[in-house]
Symmetry: C2
């Protein structure tokens, strides 16, 4: 049998999906599993998108242009203007999800051996896409005690070598919910300018900023317009992850030229997805506001609830719909597996994403989990109760050990 690729071997298993088989087993035993582990919102897709799909009057479902449907790209120009992002239709290339946008960004800008710096915890698949491009992620740990704010510039500079080609950020952040301040974004800008780096900026959660603090796009930063490669997706903001529609946006002609070659090789992004995504841009403002308010409420409810549980700490996320919380456990990988395989509370349990998967560095985030608030408040209340009860009995729980040692004193 021929050997498989080393590239495939070093590709990480999905931190979110590797617990899947345990969840399936729990469900097979009749246990209800609450999914706090995935970024799949439970909120409805805009009716405008569903109507556009139902009203398709084509008889042939043809390829679209490799760069995406023109009318959709034109409408995106106006969408970005609402956020003071000034891009032209030529700057916008439609991709099969944000995933493909990151992949094509890395493929177009990075060669094997090149390095990018990523503050962690970070979206796990950046590492996967870097491996696809043969590039290496150099990570800097953001600290939970500091609410996962930007690590000091000096930490970045320590990692910069002639191989460093870029910095990758996610803002608002998945998994932490952190929103970079103007000051932090300016620091990133100065680094990018000083070392002439790419700034890969994943801004798919821009609609979800909760604190009144401004959303600063990479395109708001002056003097690095040619360095920015922005990644976007309609998946999260319109709850239509299944469409697989994203975008790569850059003003850099050389990057565009490379990206277009990868786009042409894969022929076309999905036709129906583009039609539905274009219609989503006309979503009723009330739809957006309702979703927004729903997340605001869930966020407050979840974070308050988490911080009330003995030994649990969650910073207050400012955006997106995730938080990374610290739990009083020996090892969150073990704990999350145990929740699925050895625990139930009134026939129910929760599935969370161990944070270790969001760090490329070893031994980071071992007592942290990512929790997505993609369930309604009633369900979140149940989840909080399950978590509280689980921590009382989990063998590796520090709370349990404390209680146990008190009892024996």
């Amino acid at each position: 049998m021929p050997t498989v690729s080393d590239r495939g071997k070093i590709m990480p298993d999905s931190p979110i999906r590797k617990l899947g088989p345990l969840a399936e087993k729990a469900k097979a035993k009749g246990i209800k599993v609450y999914h706090l582990n995935i970024g799949q919102p439970d909120l409805p897709t805009p009716p405008e998108a569903l109507a556009a799909i139902k009203n398709i009057d084509r008889t042939i479902l043809e390829y679209t242009p490799s760069e995406g449907i023109l009318s959709f790209r034109k409408k995106l120009v106006k969408y970005y203007q609402k956020f003071d992002i000034d891009v032209s239709v030529e700057d916008i290339i439609i991709t099969s999800g944000g995933s493909e946008a990151v992949t094509f960004a890395f493929m177009s800008c990075l060669d094997p051996g090149d390095e990018i710096i990523v503050p962690e915890p970070a979206y796990a698949n950046y590492e996967a896409f870097a491996i696809v491009a043969g590039a290496e992620i150099k990570s800097i740990a953001a600290k939970i005690e500091e609410g996962f704010s930007l690590p000091p510039v000096e930490e970045f500079e320590k990692l910069i070598t002639p191989k460093t080609k870029g910095i990758m950020i996610c803002n608002p952040n998945n998994p932490t919910g952190y929103l970079y301040t103007r000051e932090e974004m300016n620091k990133i800008r100065d680094l990018v300018k000083k070392y002439d780096l790419y700034l890969f900026s994943d801004e798919v959660y821009r609609e979800f900023c909760y604190t009144g603090a401004p959303y600063i796009s990479a395109f708001h930063l002056e003097g690095i317009e040619q360095n920015v490669v922005l990644v976007d997706s309609v998946s999260k903001r319109y709850s239509e992850c299944g469409l697989r529609i994203g975008a790569l946006i850059t003003k850099n002609e050389a990057v565009k030229k490379n990206v277009m070659k990868f786009c042409q090789a894969r022929l076309s992004p999905p036709l129906i997805g583009q039609i539905a995504a274009e219609a989503s841009l006309d979503a009723d403002p009330d739809y957006m506001l309702n979703n927004y308010n729903e997340y605001v409420n869930r966020r407050k409810f979840l974070i308050d609830g988490l911080n009330r549980i003995d030994g649990v700490y969650s910073p207050i996320p400012m955006g997106a719909f995730y938080t990374v919380a610290r739990l009083p456990v020996d090892n969150s990988d073990k704990f999350c597996a145990w929740l699925l395989s050895d625990f139930e509370y009134e026939g129910q349990t929760v599935m969370m994403a161990p944070a270790s998967g969001f760090y490329t560095a070893a031994n980071q985030g071992i007592d942290e989990v990512r929790i997505a608030y993609v369930l309604n408040k009633k369900d979140l209340a149940v989840c909080l109760k399950i978590l509280e009860e689980a921590l009382k009995v989990y063998p590796g729980s520090k709370v349990r050990q404390k209680a146990f040692s008190k009892e024996n004193n």
Copy 2:
């Protein structure tokens, strides 16, 4: 400005799409351009697929499993049984088009520096996907005089080195329309077995075999079951290229494991596309037969017509909906560009794909073009007339030169 990747720089421009701007200019001048250059069928998508899209009753368009929707994969098992391809649901992984299937196959099996052998002319994007994986294509020219049949085994063996990891075939073939015989497939099998290679087999045109000769799948070959990675797509057979639904099929567990990592990184193939593709499997047999008969008629009409034009030669393609024809011209790249920029016949011209783009080797196919018979017979008749008239006046035409020299004698 940071530099872009070398990988991107060596990526070939799409041979089909690079003439696009010239076609746009011709259209802007009011010239009607007949597109014989693309593999986009003009035949309707099955009504079952369109109905499935219209009848979607979901309120949230969610991610699907990374490997694709289970009911779709189960139905594909039965579909393949009709072709005596015996695979299980676990062997089938749904991809975003055949393009992603080839990409993931190469990424999962090949490391930078690895080599694969490809008989040429070949689908141009294999080269692009090989570059993505850092692998190298070693090509063997199939000859138009031999109808593009399999080159001799000795030619393959000359290219085999310790770096050789596989052979890639397309059967029935894009761009030539050639269908490998049982004897040829057995030769490939013996090579694969002798050198323990992967056999990457792109079989997306299996529904379109016209001569009564059998379609031999790579999975029909005994003793190399673990070596086969089959690439499939619903795009061509159901005229639904825009759905972006393909499949990678293998019985090799190690390959599957690697492929699944790439699948999980990109989260999900398109949801709506899968729903429509699944419905397409129930397409009325009359629909399939009508399309088939249409291609049979067009094929005869086109090939007869081509071979009647002075100096033109086309082998008789046995499958798919393309032919590679030899034209009496100095250079088909120049000729195809000239057709768009300097020629018109009664306000009309044709766009064809120069065959040079289907060879990785230099100076191959310089008087060949790929013609897709994705237009109806009436339009094909016009195209043949345009081509005939063009060859009379094209400055680099050998027919024109012959006529000219006769006149002057």
